[in-house]
């Protein structure tokens, strides 16, 4: 298993490349979800007063 992580000596490059890429992708997935939840909360407040 160990040599699998070594990636023929380039392990640090390959794994950091994949790691950073999926970190950026994760941010792109989380940010809209948070924005959406915040928008729902704002809409709830706004439309709440007008019962």
């Amino acid at each position: 298993m160990q040599e699998f992580f070594a990636m023929g000596g380039y392990g640090s490059y390959v794994w950091s490349a994949f790691g950073i890429s999926f970190l950026i992708i994760l941010i792109n997935l989380v940010q809209p979800a948070l924005q959406h939840r915040q928008a729902i909360r704002d809409a709830d407040d706004f439309h709440h007063q007008e019962k």
């Binding site: 023929g8 490059y13 950073i20 890429s21 792109n28 959406h36 706004f46």
Partner: protein, 256 residues
Amino acid sequence: MNIIAKWYYRLGAPNWFYPLTGKMLPWIAVIFLALLIPGLYMGLFTAPADYQQGDSFRIMYVHVPAAWMSMFIYFAMAVAAVVALVWRVRMAEIMIISSAPIGASFALIALITGSLWGKPMWGAWWVWDARLTSELILLFIYLGIFALYNAIENKQTAGRAMSILTLVGVVNLPIIHYSVVWWNTLHQAATVSKFDTPSIHIDMLIPLLLMAAAFQFLYLWILLLKMRANLLEQDLHCGWVKKIIWDRRKAHNGGN
């Protein structure tokens, strides 16, 4: 009205677009994972190591799809810009502003993985290679589009201004790319272009295509998430949002 026009018209209406895409999201996520997992597995494990670059070439499986996506998203935005300007479809403007950060992210991924791929081979973190340089310029164009939209308060004019800039960009992109390629050949020893995918063996190609397809669905997934969030944020005061809030409340109250 034929079926396409009806679809096209209804897709433009937020109260129809929002719930429909809500239902589609889980399926898109599932398809993305269904493509990503085998692609990653084959790319990292089963594909044979490259005789020259050894295992560092596996970075290609995220670098090349990301670079393709950054170009694809820009041209998708350009098509939406034409729709937004010619037929004044607001949904197309929302699609552009939602796509810009995703395109920028893919360009950033391509740049980072490109320099990580280049480091073991040429010992330098950044190489003024034609492809990396035009990717960097594309990143700046994305940031410019994003900055313009946020600088204008009135979202109606912001959308139109952004669409114009996107179209100006799409005319300039080929010119920029070929002048950078020409500039690169002038300033660097004529080596084989560093980022041509090596004469690709079939087991190397399949994971690449899988990853490329996976990234397409990833883009669609993030795009719909982003569009729904932007739409809700902008139409906070509209009737269709009120209806959605009341439905949620009814479901919530009905629940407990």
